[in-house]
């Protein structure tokens, strides 16, 4: 079981990594990218980004290009990264003027090494189900839910990113969970 507090990917070594990244050390960029790119990419994918991988790279170009302006802890850095990713997503939506669509199953899971074919197929079906159910939420509900779950961000940090009050974020996440719960019980599809 996970703790209620968001986990730290880098931990105590974060200030050193951040300092090295500011100095242009490739290993530090790689460390930050490896730790955070999967969750940023997952956030963008679940949000229905047209090109989530490209958008993730675009977001990290912005993050690494502005490291000099960042001051704070790893929690704050994580929140800052998602803030930039969120803005990149909004920019993409403005460009495309499209609503998030139901994503197709992540068939790449079937090609990965490790695990049995049945397990991988089950995981792929679960991923497809996740995309489908998340796409059924309202934009605000999905935004808040994914930032809380995938981003591992607190209510306060999510409120700052989406520019809403803490109370509004709490209401949105509650409604999102209630909607998911109703769909899961109605459909009865196991994950």
């Amino acid at each position: 079981m996970r703790a209620g507090r968001a986990r730290l990917a880098i931990g105590e070594g974060f200030p050193e990594v951040l300092h090295a990244a500011r100095a242009g050390a490739p290993w530090a960029f790689e460390r930050l990218y490896v730790e955070l790119a999967p969750v940023v990419g997952g956030y963008l994918r679940l949000q229905g980004a047209a090109e989530p991988d490209d958008l993730t790279s675009e977001a990290f170009l912005g993050v690494f290009g502005r490291l000099a302006s960042f001051e704070g802890s790893e929690h704050q850095f994580r929140s800052w990264v998602f803030t930039i990713a969120h803005r990149r997503l909004i920019d993409e939506r403005r460009r495309a003027v499209r609503r998030p669509t139901i994503m197709t199953a992540d068939t790449d899971l079937l090609d990965r090494e490790g695990g049995s074919v049945e397990q991988d197929a089950f995981a792929a079906l679960g991923t497809a189900r996740v995309y489908e159910l998340c796409a059924g939420l309202s934009d605000d509900q999905r935004e808040v839910l994914i930032l809380r779950v995938v981003g591992d961000l607190t209510v306060e940090r999510v409120a700052a990113i989406v520019d809403k009050s803490v109370g509004a974020v709490k209401a949105l996440q509650r409604r999102a969970l209630q909607a998911l719960r109703r769909k899961l019980e109605r459909d009865g599809v196991p994950l």
Binding site: M1, G24, A37, P38, L46, E58, F64, V149, L180
Partner: protein, 222 residues
Amino acid sequence: MPGYTVLDDTAVEAVLCGGAVAPELEPLASFVGTIRTTATRPVRPSRELADRMASGAFVTGRTRRTRVRRSSPKVVAMSLRAKVAIGSVAALTGLTGVTAAGALPDAAQQRVETMIEFVTPIEFVDRAEFGHEVADDAQDGGVDGQEISERAREQAQQSTDLGNQGRADEHRSDGRPSDLPTPATVPDQPGPDDHPGTGSGGPPDVLPDGAEGRASVPPIPD
């Protein structure tokens, strides 16, 4: 119809953060866990990002912003005719400067020189001719003070001869003064003004009365 457990803040936090939940919320908690696992897939960086990460080439300073200069209120308030006139003058001035510097291509240079000579009192020196003179000077040893001194000495000798001839005529005649003016005294050696580049050359600051426009060598009678 199943009765729903009310999702209070504690239950919501437990579901979202993977804490212990009531049995009726386990399917929901499991689904939230699946959402979390979908975000563990590595993302391949773009070529640009990979290159910059490898080289550390990121702009870590301030973000550069492009400042757009706006026209001053005085310019905005001008009439269209005034703007066109000012623009034309500025363009012609700039074109004249560029042309004077010889910075245009040969064909354009010739045309623009002709146009400027037509609309302005400016005359351009034939650069090809000037080039020939420079080339000739370079081939025969260059322009030196000796050459200039010899020319001056020849001119002085010519003036002296004319002066002597005038005095002789004066003595031969019946006492009436000659029509030819008496030349000024010419030194045997060239003066400092005859040697360019020696530092003491150049026109005098104060000319004697009546010196303006007077030729140093009297006209030679036919």
